[in-house]
Amino acid sequence: MAGSGTAHLRPADEVLLQVNDLVVEFRAGRNRTIKAVSGISFDVARGETLGLVGESGCGKSTTGKAILQLPRPTGGSVVLDGEDLVALAHEEMRTRRTRLQMIFQDPISSLNPRRMVGEVVAEPLNVWGPKNKDEQWDIVARILDQVGIDPGPARFKRPHEFSGGQCQRISIARALVTGPELIICDEPVSALDVSIQAQILNLLEDLKAEHGLTLVFIAHDLAVVKNISDRVAVMYLGKMCEISEADELYANPAHPYTELLLGSSPVPDPSVDIDSVRVIEGELPSPLAPPSGCRFRTRCPLADEQCAAEEPQMRRVGEDHFVACHHPLIEPWPEGAAAESMVSMVSVGSKPQGDPPTL
C-alpha cells in the first residue's frame, strides 16, 4: 500500500480537477528533505466531493494547499479545467484564485480578530468584486444569510463575539463570496462539538447543491468523511493507499491500513466489542526518511519482503475502487490490472478466489 500509479484516474475531460504525480518537499536544514507528499494522483469530477483521510502528518493538508499553489508544489501538475496551475506565472495564477477557495480548521484563528465580520467577508471583493461598498454589502449580506448568520447584527461585530460554529459559518461565507467552483475544506469540523459539527456538515451539503460546488474535504474522522463524500481517498505518509466510491470503501476496504483505520473509529454503540478491534501499532514513521517500498510496511500486519523491495502501484479492485497494495484484502480485477502490476498479480492471483488475506 501507500504507493503510486495512475490507474484510478478518469479521462481528463470528465473532471474539474486532476492532480498528477504531485510532489511537495520542504527543506529541513542540513541537506535533509521532508517528503510531505510523494507523487500522489487523483481527480475530482465537477459537483463531486472527494474526501481525503489519513493520520496527522500524512500530507493531506499539504495536498490541499498545494492544489491552491500555497506553496507551489515541488513537482507534478494540478490541472483545473484543462489548465495546469503549476505552469502559470504568478500574476496569471492570481486571476484564477477566485475559482479556488479554502476553509481552514480553526474557525476562530482563521478570522482577523480586529476586523468586523462585514469587512472580513467583503475582503475578497475588494480584490475581485465591485468596489462600491453598497454593492459589496448586498453580496455579503446575501451570502451571510445563506450560511445562517443574520447579516444586519453581524455586520459590525468582531469574530470574538461569535461561537466557534458561527465563526466557521463566517469562514464559509468568506470562501463563497467570490463564487468559486472548487473549495478545499481542511478539517473544517474537527475543532467543533458534535452538535455543531452536524450543523456545519448539513450546511456544506446544502451550499454545495445551491452553488454547484466541487469540494475536496480533508479530515481524519472517517465517519465525517463518509457522510459528506462521494469518493474517498486514503493517504499514508505522503502516498495514496486507496481511492474508492465512499460506500464501497467502508463496506469493503481493500487496504490493510484502511481496515485498521476503520476499526479505530469510535462507534456510539456499547454492544460493539472494543477489545476485538485491532489497533495500529506504533506511530507514523518520519517523513525525513520514509520506509522503502510500501511506506506502510513497518506497521502493516501483512508486510513481507516484496513490500520492502517494491512500491505497490494503484490497481483496480472494484467498479470505482483502486488500491496500492501488494496484498490487497480484495482480489484485483484481472481485466483492469495494469501491465505494471502484473508481477504482483502472479503471487496474489494464485490464491483461490474469495480467500483474501486476513489481518
Partner: protein, 374 residues
C-alpha cells in the same frame, strides 16, 4: 408515575455505603465575572464506586471540565466559589487547605488533561516531570525514582523507555506525550483518575491506543475513573455509567447499556443523532441539535434545554424538571416529556403539527441555515 424516585437537588440523599469512593452532593461552582455569575456547575449529585468508570458527556460549556476540576479542588482562582459536598473515601474535600489537597493530588486522585502539547512543561525533561512527585510523595532517591519512571514509561507502551528520560516534550509526538501524561498521573498509584478529554487533540488511531491504555491501566490498578468527553462514541464501550450534562446540570445518568438502549432525555438523543456513523450511507442527512448552548450567566428559565428541544411545551419554559426515574432507579433523567413515554410522544407530535422549528429539526425538515437561528 407513582414509582418515580426523586433524587436531584435534595441534599445528602447519597449516603456513603462503604462502596462509594466518591460521593458528590449538590456541587456548585460559580465564577464571578464582570457580567454576573457564571454557573458553570449548578447542583450536581452522583456517586462513584471503587474501580468503576463514569463517562461525563456534554457540549463545550456544559460544565463537565469544571466539574472534574471542582472535585479535585483545582479551581483556585479568587473568583471561583465551590459549594456543596465532595466526599472522597469518606473525607470532605470542599474547604480543604491547599496543603491538605497537595497530599491527595497524585497519590489519591490524579488527572490527565486534554492537551498533551501544553500540559507538560516544555523546558523540563520528561524524566524529571515523571519523578518530581514520586520523590515528593513516596520519598525516593533519584536513582530509585528513575527506575520507577522507566517502569512507568514501559507500562504505557513507550518504546526505548530508558533513553526517553532525558527527552524534552517537543521531541515526542502528541500520542507519546499523552502517554507520558498518563504515566505521570499513574506514578503514585492513585485510586481515582480523572481523564479530561484525553484524546480530543489526537488522531483516531492514537485515540484508540490511548483509550485502550487507560482501560488497561484502570483494570490492572482497580482505579475509579471519570472520563470526560464530548463524544458519545468514545464512552460507549468503555464506561460502566454515563452522565450527560447540559448547562452545568446533570440531565441524564444511567448505566451505559441502558442509556443507549432506552435514552430518555431529548438532549442525549440529540447528541447521539448528531454523530455521523460509519454504518450510515454517504450523504445521510444528520439530525443536528438546533441552536447553541445557553448563556450560563443568564440561562433560560425552566428547563435550560427547552429553547433547542423538539419536545418542549409551555411547562418546560417555566418549571425546571428535577432528576427522576421510571422503571430502573439507576436510570435518572431531568425531563418533563421523556422519550419513550406517551407524554413525550404526544409532546413531539404536537410540536411537529405546530411546525415548531426544533421539532422540525428532529425529523430532518429544517434547512441548515435555520438550524443556527433557532
Amino acid at each position: 408515575m407513582d414509582n418515580e424516585i426523586r433524587v436531584g437537588r435534595a441534599p445528602a440523599r447519597h449516603v456513603d455505603d462503604g462502596q462509594s469512593l466518591l460521593v458528590v452532593d449538590d456541587l456548585k461552582t460559580h465564577f464571578e465575572v464582570a457580567a454576573g455569575s457564571v454557573r458553570a456547575v449548578d447542583g450536581v449529585t452522583f456517586s462513584l464506586a471503587r474501580g468503576r468508570t463514569l463517562g461525563v458527556v456534554g457540549e463545550s460549556g456544559s460544565g463537565k471540565t469544571v466539574l472534574s476540576r471542582s472535585i479535585m479542588g483545582l479551581n483556585t482562582t479568587s473568583n471561583a466559589t465551590t459549594t456543596g459536598s465532595v466526599l472522597y473515601a469518606g473525607d470532605e474535600m470542599i474547604g480543604k487547605s491547599s496543603k491538605q489537597k497537595k497530599a491527595l493530588w497524585g497519590t489519591e486522585m490524579a488527572m490527565v488533561f486534554q492537551d498533551p502539547m501544553t500540559s507538560l512543561n516544555p523546558v523540563v525533561t520528561i524524566g524529571r516531570q515523571l519523578t518530581e512527585h514520586v520523590r515528593y510523595h513516596l520519598d525516593m532517591g533519584r536513582k530509585e525514582a528513575n527506575e520507577v519512571a522507566i517502569a512507568l514509561l514501559k507500562s504505557v507502551n513507550i518504546p526505548e523507555a530508558e533513553n526517553r528520560l532525558g527527552n524534552y516534550p517537543h521531541q515526542m509526538s502528541g500520542g507519546m506525550r499523552q502517554r507520558v501524561c498518563i504515566a505521570i498521573a499513574l506514578a503514585c498509584g492513585p485510586r481515582m483518575l480523572f481523564a479530561d478529554e484525553p484524546t480530543t487533540a489526537l488522531d483516531v488511531t492514537v485515540q484508540h491506543q490511548i483509550l485502550n491504555l487507560l482501560a488497561e491501566q484502570q483494570r490492572d490498578r482497580a482505579m475509579a475513573m471519570i472520563l470526560v468527553t464530548h463524544d458519545l462514541g468514545v464512552v460507549a464501550g468503555r464506561t460502566d455509567e454515563i452522565m450527560v450534562m447540559y448547562a452545568g446540570r446533570v440531565v441524564e445518568k444511567a448505566p451505559t447499556a441502558d442509556l443507549f438502549a432506552h435514552l430518555r432525555h431529548p438532549y442525549t438523543q440529540g447528541l447521539l443523532w448528531s454523530i455521523p456513523k460509519i454504518t450510515q450511507a454517504k450523504h445521510t442527512r444528520l439530525i443536528a441539535i438546533p441552536g447553541r448552548p445557553p448563556n450560563l450567566i443568564h440561562p433560560p428559565p425552566g428547563c435550560k434545554f427547552s429553547p433547542r428541544c423538539a419536545y418542549a411545551q409551555a411547562i418546560c419554559r417555566t418549571e425546571e424538571p428535577v432528576l427522576r426515574s421510571i422503571e430502573s432507579s439507576d436510570h435518572t433523567f431531568a425531563c418533563h416529556f421523556p422519550i419513550g413515554t406517551p407524554e413525550g410522544q404526544a409532546a413531539l407530535d404536537a410540536n411537529i403539527a405546530a411546525e415548531y422549528p426544533p421539532a422540525l429539526a428532529a425529523i430532518g425538515k429544517l434547512r441548515a441555515t435555520e438550524e443556527l437561528t433557532v
